[in-house]
């Protein structure tokens, strides 16, 4: 009896997936694309850039696409409610744009097999209707690290981390490796803010770093507060995060990592419209246009700028990978042998500092 039910269920499931598969192959006439944002659109950083991508959809497809979004959705139980609401509201594809939405996305996706889910910066694709997409931010961090190593006078570089997740740890390691490469005396101090967006907390973190004599600040949090804090002290520089943050040009913001999600969003919604959509795990970088290096300002000497741009171009051309051996882990054990390049699986689960960075990664 049990087995028969099971088989029947399986048959129904198969039938459903076949019909939905067939419908998919024909494509949709009209797509409602919905976005879950972790911060406010006005953050001037991460969420702002995702929203630019969403607006680009509207521009690209016009009447064929509707967009909807919800701002400042907390990571946690509330996210599941917000995603479910979109699923019930007739969204065809839902983009959940923060790492912390990972489990909520999986849970809702299981209940709505006909809706496509796209989770940013995650790695779980348990459900067939969940795809993930990410950008190789560490490529940009390598370029920032090069500038940081050249520019620091105190040889102390600070890094404001958000959460100890692989994406952030990649960024810390990539920037440290490349700062060290051009300035062997450079050290890096990491402060964990445990938030993606909290201007006051980010300002506190930046201030604490500056008080410690740090004169170059990298940030993996989304507001411009650390730059505003850097602007108060002569000679301290920082970098735009996610967005260009051009209000702080030419200093303290000397360059920026810009996330450009538009190409990916247009590609995915376009695929849904023409019927070629399939589950995927996208991870593009500088070469794919998802990571851009913001203008390097005149506060940076010409030769440093040239070195940074060369690194950027080498990464884009594929002739150089930011994680190329010889590299050791923090405890001194070998991670990558000479000339070996880190594979994506190792990067996606990175949970250790490279040799030379002090401090522990919070668990």
């Amino acid at each position: 009896m049990k087995r028969r039910n099971l088989l029947a269920g399986a048959a129904i499931g198969l039938g459903l997936s076949l019909t939905s598969g067939a419908a998919m192959a024909q494509g949709l006439d009209h797509v409602k694309a919905c976005f879950i944002y972790v911060g406010p659109i006005g953050d001037g950083g991460w969420t702002y850039q995702h929203h630019q991508g969403a607006l680009a959809l509207k521009e690209e497809f016009g009447d064929k696409v509707d967009i909807a979004w919800q701002e400042s959705v907390p990571e946690g139980a509330d996210a599941e409610r917000a995603i479910t609401q979109f699923a019930l509201d007739g969204c065809n594809i839902i983009f959940t744009t923060s790492f912390g939405f990972m489990d909520a996305t999986q849970a809702v996706a299981a209940q709505f097999p006909d809706i496509k889910f796209e989770h940013a910066t995650g790695f779980k694709r348990d459900q067939p209707n969940v795809s993930t997409y990410d950008a190789r931010f560490y490529e940009g961090r390598a370029v920032m690290g090069t500038i940081a190593g050249h520019m620091t006078k105190s040889n102390k570089i600070g890094y404001i981390g958000s959460y100890p997740i692989p994406e952030v740890i990649q960024g810390i390691n990539a920037s440290y490796i490349h700062a060290k490469k051009v300035n062997p005396d450079a050290t890096m101090t990491v402060v964990w803010a445990y938030t993606w967006f909290d201007p006051a907390k980010e300002a506190d973190a930046a201030k604490a770093l500056i008080d410690q004599g740090i004169d170059v600040i990298l940030q993996h949090t989304d507001s411009t507060a650390p730059l505003a804090e850097a602007a108060k002290v002569e000679g301290v520089i920082g970098f735009g995060q996610a967005s260009d943050m051009s209000a702080y040009k030419p200093a303290p913001r000397v360059s920026a990592i810009i996330d450009n999600w538009s190409p990916y969003y247009i590609k995915r919604v376009g695929a849904l419209l023409d019927g070629s959509y399939a589950q995927s795990a996208a991870w593009e970088g500088i070469a794919g246009g998802e990571v851009e290096i913001g203008e390097i300002t005149e506060a940076v000497p010409a030769e440093v700028k040239a070195a940074a741009e060369k690194l950027r171009d080498d990464i884009a051309a594929g002739t150089y990978h930011p994680f190329t051996g010889p590299l050791n882990k923090q405890d001194g054990s070998e991670w990558l042998a000479d000339g070996v390049v880190a594979d994506d699986a190792a990067l996606a689960t990175m949970d250790f500092y490279v040799e030379g960075i002090t401090g522990d990664i919070p668990k």
């Binding site: 953050d43 990491v190 505003a228 209000a247």
Partner: protein, 309 residues
Amino acid sequence: MIIGGIDIAVLMASLMVGSVPILLAALGETVVERSGVLNLGVEGMMIIGAVSGFIAAVTFQSPILGFLAGAACGAAFSLIFAFLVLVLQANQVATGLALTLVGIGISSLAGQGFNGIKPPVTGAVPMGPLRDIPFLGPMLFRHDWVVWFGLAMVAVTWWLLNRSRAGLIIRAVGENHEAAHALGYKVNRIRLLCILFGGAMAGIGGAYISLVRVPQWTDNITNGIGWIALAIVVFASWRPGRVLFGAWLFGGLLVLGPNLQAAEYRIPVEYLSMAPYLITIVVLVVMSARKGARMGAPASLGQNFHASR
């Protein structure tokens, strides 16, 4: 003086700056609650002050006008609460919560187009040679005027509540509004003035966040500071002196976290993040566990008054 890799003078200075928004908002709320009104809309009034102060300061290129606008708009915004609670006799808890939600929404709307702009700088008060005194100079004499204003307001509020006739009336209204009414005091008028004061103080506190502490406008910039201010009022058992202590404790713990990390102490970040809240709970438990001790809450707190009853 450097202890364990942290410059104490600099830490104290950032503590004083960091606690200003909490201090101002909590002082205002202390007066409001002493008059028997529970206004949970502090967060909303703060963010209204933050956005209006920012807009005014940027438009007129004057931080002073920014703070004045923050105070005026915070007070004006608290009028909504006053009208609902004092005139329409709405539930104070629900109205206060609604005020916060509305405030966050309005500020987000009003702040459109003000993202990424830098406000005019609120400079330090010129203290002349005092600036260069070792230790005390960087700790005390390099602050902007709002820090001093906050400290002065602690004294003013204390004097107002404990030493002035007006304070006696406010406390009478807060302890027993029926009796105060029988004595001929206009209960709701007094409460209205207290609510406006609370709104103005929260507004200045909010403006301090957007003009000095995080000199920029972004949505939801207050990010819960108003709720901390509310907790501190209870923490301080409704006394201005203890409000200062509470604000410094909270402000201190908030700035100590990143400083300990930057000095490479190996304390788990999670403990630092939860410390302010943990300490509040502990203090509240200790205070309420003392036998026979009154928490100090005004007896009519949260109750509406209508003369017909």
